[in-house]
Symmetry: C2
Subunit: 184 residues, 2 copies
């Protein structure tokens, strides 16, 4: 049997034996779901005090970049609805982590910029998340971690081992003019 790990509410799904299924030797869905949920859960814990949680953190990182910073750009980049972005920014701004500034080039738009507090907060959060990644990899030794990350990256990017590592940068650039769900 093959276990499908889906539970819509991934963030809160029990972590112990959900769909502990029927004892198959290699059940990709089960393992993938278990590891992913563990990562999500630990991340959410590490980012509990950030307005909007992991989503809020993503907004901070994107706002800290030098590329585009308008609300709609952020929403597209993070794959969230622009109405959701409004709420996220409301919370982040209320906590003094970001600011909405008028876009001199377009009076309809707002530019999102990190405040000083936002910048220092972001740095600290990145440290926390590095710890989470480290924990998730669990008992793997150094060489195994490298191997796993490499294989996972290749799967995620659908790249061949020969390719000069086609990282997310190139992909993101490629899709700069974002659109929802570009099929699979």
């Amino acid at each position: 049997m093959i276990s499908v790990m889906t539970s819509p509410a991934v963030d809160v799904a029990p972590e112990g034996l959900p769909a502990a299924g029927p004892c198959v030797e290699d059940d990709l869905g089960w393992a993938l779901g278990t590891v992913f949920r563990r990562y999500v859960k630990n991340s959410a814990t590490a980012l509990a005090d950030v307005p909007g949680g992991p989503r809020g953190y993503q907004v901070l990182t994107t706002a800290g970049m030098d590329t585009p910073k308008r609300q709609l750009d952020l929403a597209n980049r993070l794959g969230v609805d622009r109405t959701v972005m409004t709420y996220l920014l409301d919370d982040l701004e209320r906590d003094g982590l970001v600011e909405r500034q008028p876009d001199p080039a377009d009076r309809r738009a707002r530019l999102i910029v990190l405040t000083d507090k936002g910048t220092t907060t972001l740095a600290e959060l990145e440290g926390r998340l590095a710890g989470v990644e480290n924990d998730v990899l669990g008992t793997l030794d150094q060489a195994e971690r490298v191997a796993f990350r490499s294989l996972l990256q290749r799967i995620a990017t659908n790249s061949d081992p020969l390719d000069h590592p086609r990282d997310k940068c190139s992909i993101a650039d490629e899709l700069t003019g974002n659109k929802d769900s570009q099929g699979q």
Copy 2:
């Protein structure tokens, strides 16, 4: 930067560049999320005609086992609320895939059994999912697939390479008296 892939609505999240983030070499969260979402999405597609989708499929597999079959057992095993299980079974029974039978040992309880149609349907669905697993692994060659599955399993089960493979069976057995979220 480290990207946290969380979006609560994992099943429907865009797959292309969500949180395509800031071009880090190895971003575990991003890769994990991307692969997991791809798996979930493809599974959902493969199981679209099953009442309850992936969840319904899980109920079928568990019902097809010889261990416990009462509604509450199924709910615990799959990590869903018992009220959700009621709706799930309503749909599956309406389609003639499972039956609710009175438990001779406890007149409060109902035993869930697969119908003949449910059994044949289940077999076919497993075939579809094997295909999904195969697709998700993408460009990896055979040896790499084995390596990846092995590492992922070890991470998921937190087992050491030396351990006589401590698979989900032993874990499930261990937790037979299920409880929510066994910490992490």
